[in-house]
């Protein structure tokens, strides 16, 4: 049974709680595959997406998930201009709450913003990515995808490749996967590896070649051009030479290795087009699974008990 008010991160979730979400997402995925993709389960409930950072993908994924469960949705994109005008996050959250939102899905550039909101309002809060902290629904959809393809998480060797320092996806992946006994490796240039990251229970590599040896899964992270300006990377070209996932590097992994990416991708930078187009890539499935996992979370957070009542 789900007991938490909010979903803020995977660090604080138990393996049982994560399992409950992943198990609930299985029948949700069946709904997505139906011709009529709609069940009445959350009729009369409402979800508001509150995005301080643009991300059409994640927002749309939540909106579709809510609609398949018949919840009402609305979205609020907050330009930094209104932050400048002085309306605080708490003000905005309270306004949405009194409009009757059952769930607020928040994306924010500042780590901890969803926690601040969750403490101050009664509506349920889902973290859709906060700064460099966590992106729990992405972590869960990655875990769902791996579990679906590999049948398990325990003992799998999983490499997370790229800008670990700035990646909330990496952090959520690490917390979630290590709880199930997966062996997680992180690899990237030393300027993009956060301090003492090994204490999170991962193995740290600077060489892509060493890190990718015999892995079951490669999760490729997006690398951003602005890192160059800040002195963290000499150039995207050099990054690509050292860490771009091409055929040769992919061949170091297990023959049936999965290639994942949270999107949007810089093709030709962190991942080569032929790798993306290969059979190893499960990027499209990740997108579908993202909807299923978000349906499961909305369902559980809004008091769903027996998942059979949804599917029947």
């Amino acid at each position: 049974m789900w007991k938490r008010k909010d979903l803020l991160g995977l660090k604080e979730l138990s393996a049982d709680e994560i399992n409950l979400i992943l198990d609930t997402a299985v029948p949700m995925k069946d709904i997505i595959k139906r011709e009529i993709k709609k069940v009445p389960t959350l009729r009369g409930r409402s979800m508001v997406t509150l995005f301080y950072e643009p991300s059409t993908r994640t927002r749309t994924s939540f909106e579709i998930a809510a609609k398949y469960l018949s919840a009402d949705t609305s979205s609020l994109t907050v330009a930094t201009s209104s932050v400048v005008k002085g309306e605080t996050l708490i003000d905005t959250g309270k306004t949405i709450e009194v409009m009757g939102a059952d769930v607020i899905v928040i994306r924010h550039e500042a780590a901890g913003a969803p926690h601040l909101l969750a403490q101050r309002i009664k509506s349920r809060v889902i973290n859709a990515g906060d700064g460099m902290h966590e992106h729990p629904t992405q972590g869960l959809l990655d875990m769902f995808t791996i579990r679906e393809k590999k049948g398990k998480l325990a003992d799998l060797k999983i490499a997370i490749l790229g800008d670990i320092l700035h990646s909330r996806v990496a952090r959520s992946n690490i917390w979630g996967l290590t709880k199930f006994g997966a062996k997680v490796r992180v690899v990237g240039p030393s300027t993009l590896l956060p301090k003492e990251v090994q204490r999170m229970g991962v193995e740290v590599f600077q060489s892509a070649e060493e890190a990718l040896k015999d892995v079951d899964v490669i999760n490729v992270l997006r690398v951003q051009r602005e890192r160059q300006k800040k002195g963290l990377l000499p150039s995207l070209r050099e990054y690509s030479n050292l860490y771009g996932l091409d055929r040769k590097r992919l061949a170091l992994a297990k023959p049936d290795a999965l290639v994942m990416h949270p999107g949007p991708m810089n093709r030709g930078v962190e991942i080569m087009p032929d790798v993306y187009d290969s059979l190893h890539s499960v990027v499209d499935e990740q997108v579908t699974n993202g909807v299923a996992v978000r349906m499961a979370i909305l369902y559980l957070l809004m008091g769903g008990k027996n998942v059979n009542e949804v599917v029947n």
Binding site: H108, A110, G112, H115, L116, G131, M132, K195
Partner: protein, 429 residues
């Protein structure tokens, strides 16, 4: 007007006194400190079981006036000082306008005289507008009454300007209080860089950001022969540099805050913005180095860096919150609980860090119970236990991470120029 303090344990490190004594005050001055003074007094304080010390000096506070009266005023800040057992505060110049000229310094002094509960000593800026480019009129600032120079809140980034400031300030016997921070290395970090910043996803500030500036200032202090006081020292590396510099005879002094000797970066977990300070709360390795340096005398001053902010300013995302926490009303019980009751410092060592040591650094005629000195006295009940309740703070700032902490060893009397300004936690009007 005669005030007699009877039967307390008088600790006056300046005079090497630690014993049961009476203290006689007449017309605002200490007259004598002796066993069994039997004289008729207008007022008598029974101090049995209490610690009687020279009035405490906090050499690093932000009173916010002029310019930020919604955060704190000279009136409210000095009430907080009195409540916390301080008889004198030294206020930093990052007001609005900044204290880079005679007018602002005079305003602060005048306000303090009219509305201040305790003594106020202003610090003037090192550079005009705190811009780090041109020296202030240091001679005029000295004449207006500043006791030190600092651009606190910011470092003086330009090494050449810092060098010239040190040379020039020497003519006026004004120490420079240095806020040591290399802003390029800070690189818009929000907390100490380490495991906790990695987990919380908050950009980190490496210890090196402080240490390279401490190293620079030590080198410039050596070059110029002028004293540098390192404000709010927070890292193991800084401590090591200061220790080595002192051993070589360089005029370096340092202060540590109660929050740096009490908390670590683990306090940031949960994103409580009351924990956002500059320099940031460091990891336990650094905290231990601070404790060690307090114990061996490398750090000779405890100062609060009292930094009040309005509630709504702190009720925002961690990244957007201003730096600082209030400190005046929790400093003494934190010191007693964290340093004395734990045996890290004895009473005399601890009291010296709040009295004679800051007085010497700033050339203030305070920090002692010598006959003829101004009768500033702080009395502590070492056994008094109480829970920190920000709602009852005299400060307008309630931004403290210590809310709900039970602490043992609170100030019970604050006496300024022979007048009781705080008794049993109450401010006397």
């Amino acid at each position: 007007m005669k005030l007699l303090i009877k039967g307390g344990r008088v600790i006056d490190p300046a005079n090497g006194i630690d014993g049961i004594r009476d203290v006689l005050i007449v017309d605002g001055l200490i007259v004598k400190v002796e066993e069994n003074i039997n004289e008729e007094a207008d007022e008598q304080i029974e101090a049995e079981g209490k610690i009687v010390a020279p009035g405490f000096i906090d050499m690093h506070v932000h009173l916010r006036e002029p310019g930020f009266e919604h955060k704190e005023t000279i009136a409210s800040g000095t009430r907080a000082a009195a409540a916390g057992g301080f008889t004198a505060v030294v206020c930093m110049p990052n007001t609005n306008p900044v204290a880079d000229n005679k007018a602002v310094v005079s305003f602060i002094k005048q306000k303090a005289e009219q509305e201040g509960k305790v003594k106020v000593y202003p610090v003037g800026n090192v550079t005009k507008g705190a811009q780090g480019e041109e020296l202030t009129e240091i001679g005029e600032l000295k004449a207006a009454g500043v006791v030190a120079l600092s651009d606190d809140g910011k470092p003086v980034h330009n090494g050449e300007i810092m060098r010239r400031a040190l040379e020039y300030a020497q003519m006026f016997q004004l120490p420079i209080i240095s806020h040591c921070e290399d802003l390029n290395l800070v690189a818009s970090g929000y907390m100490h860089e380490g495991y906790i910043s990695t987990v919380l996803g908050l950009r980190g500030i490496p210890a090196a950001a402080e240490e390279v500036m401490v190293a620079r200032d030590i080198i410039l202090a050596e070059l110029t022969g002028s004293p540098v006081h390192i404000a709010h020292i927070s890292t193991a590396g800084s401590v090591r540099l200061v220790r080595e510099a002192k051993a070589r005879g360089i005029k370096i002094t340092a202060e540590a805050t109660p929050h740096h000797f009490t908390l670590t970066d683990e306090a940031v977990i949960g994103y409580n913005t009351a924990t956002k300070v500059n320099p940031p709360l460091r990891s336990s390795r650094h905290r231990e180095a601070i404790l060690e340096a307090l114990a061996d005398g490398t750090i000779e001053v405890i100062a609060t860096d009292h930094a009040p902010h309005a509630r709504e300013e702190k009720e925002v995302e961690y990244a957007y919150a201003p730096n600082g926490m209030v400190g005046l009303e929790t400093a003494v019980p934190l010191m007693v609980t964290q340093l004395i009751h734990t045996g890290i410092l004895d009473w005399s060592e601890a009291i010296a860090k709040l009295t004679i040591n800051p007085a010497k650094i700033l050339n203030l005629p305070l920090g002692t119970l010598s006959a003829g000195s101004p009768a500033d006295v702080t009395i502590i009940d070492p056994e008094k236990e109480a829970v920190v309740d920000p709602a009852r703070f005299q400060s307008m700032g309630k931004n403290t991470p210590f809310a709900g902490w039970e602490l043992k060893g609170w100030p019970v009397y604050t006496i300024v120029n022979g007048r009781v300004v705080m008794a049993d936690g109450k401010i006397l009007e």
